[in-house]
Symmetry: C2
Subunit: 126 residues, 2 copies
C-alpha cells in the first residue's frame, strides 16, 4: 500500500535548492521551443546547410553542390528549417534562394564552437 517513492528519504530532495531552481527556470512551452531549435541544429546535414547560409544566400542546387547532397535531401531539410522560420526564401525564376532569418543563429553556433574548442584544450592538457 506504499506509494511509489519519487525522492530519496533523508536530506534529499534539497527543497531550498529546488525552489531556487524553479524560480529561474524557463516556462514549460519555452522548453519545447528551445529543444526544437536545438533539434534543428542537431543533424549534421542541417547544420551544414545552416552554416553555409551564414554568410551567403544560396539556392537549393548551390547547397547540393557545396555539400555533396542530393536535391531531395536538401529540400526536405530546408522544409524543416522553413517550418521553424529559421530560414527565409525568395523565388527568382526557376530557382529559390534561401537565407537565414535570424541573427541569433550565428551566435548560437559560435558559442557552441567556443565550447568545443575549450573541450579540446582541456583534452590537450592530459
Amino acid at each position: 500500500m506504499e506509494e511509489d517513492k519519487l525522492v530519496c528519504a533523508e536530506n534529499c530532495p534539497h527543497i531550498n535548492k529546488i525552489n531556487k531552481v524553479k524560480e529561474r527556470e524557463p516556462k514549460a512551452d519555452e522548453y519545447a521551443k528551445l529543444s526544437n531549435v536545438f533539434k534543428l541544429f542537431s543533424d549534421e546535414t542541417r547544420l551544414k546547410i545552416i552554416c553555409s547560409l551564414l554568410k551567403e544566400e544560396l539556392c537549393v542546387c548551390d547547397l547540393c553542390e557545396l555539400l555533396n547532397l542530393n536535391q531531395s535531401q536538401v529540400s526536405h531539410q530546408l522544409q524543416l528549417l522553413r517550418n521553424s522560420k529559421l530560414v527565409k526564401f525568395r523565388r527568382d525564376g526557376k530557382q529559390i534562394f534561401y537565407s537565414l532569418n535570424d541573427k541569433h543563429v550565428e551566435l548560437i553556433i559560435q558559442m557552441a564552437l567556443d565550447h568545443i574548442l575549450e573541450e579540446e584544450e582541456k583534452n590537450e592538457l592530459l
Copy 2:
C-alpha cells in the same frame, strides 16, 4: 549514359558564392562535434536537466523531484551528459551530485532563448 546531374544547368551553382562559403566553413570533424553538442540540448528531458543544473549543483533525486521524472530516466540522460563531458559529478555518501562542466552552456541556451523571444515578438506584430 548520362551522369546524374547534381547541379542545375545555367547560372547555378554560383561558383563564387560557393567558394566564399567553403573558405569560412567549419572543418569536417567540427561539424560532427557541433551536431553532437546540439543533440544533447535537443531532447526536452535533457534540456530540463541542463537548465536545472545551470544555477545549482543537484543530486539525481533532486532532479527527479524537480522535473517529475523517474530515476531511471534521469540517470540514463545524465549518463549521456557525462559521456560528453557536459556535466561533472561528485559522490557524497550515497548521493551523487551533478553540476555543469562548462560556462558556455549557459550562453548557448541564452542565445537560443533570445532567438525564441525574437520569434515571438515577430509573431505578435502580425
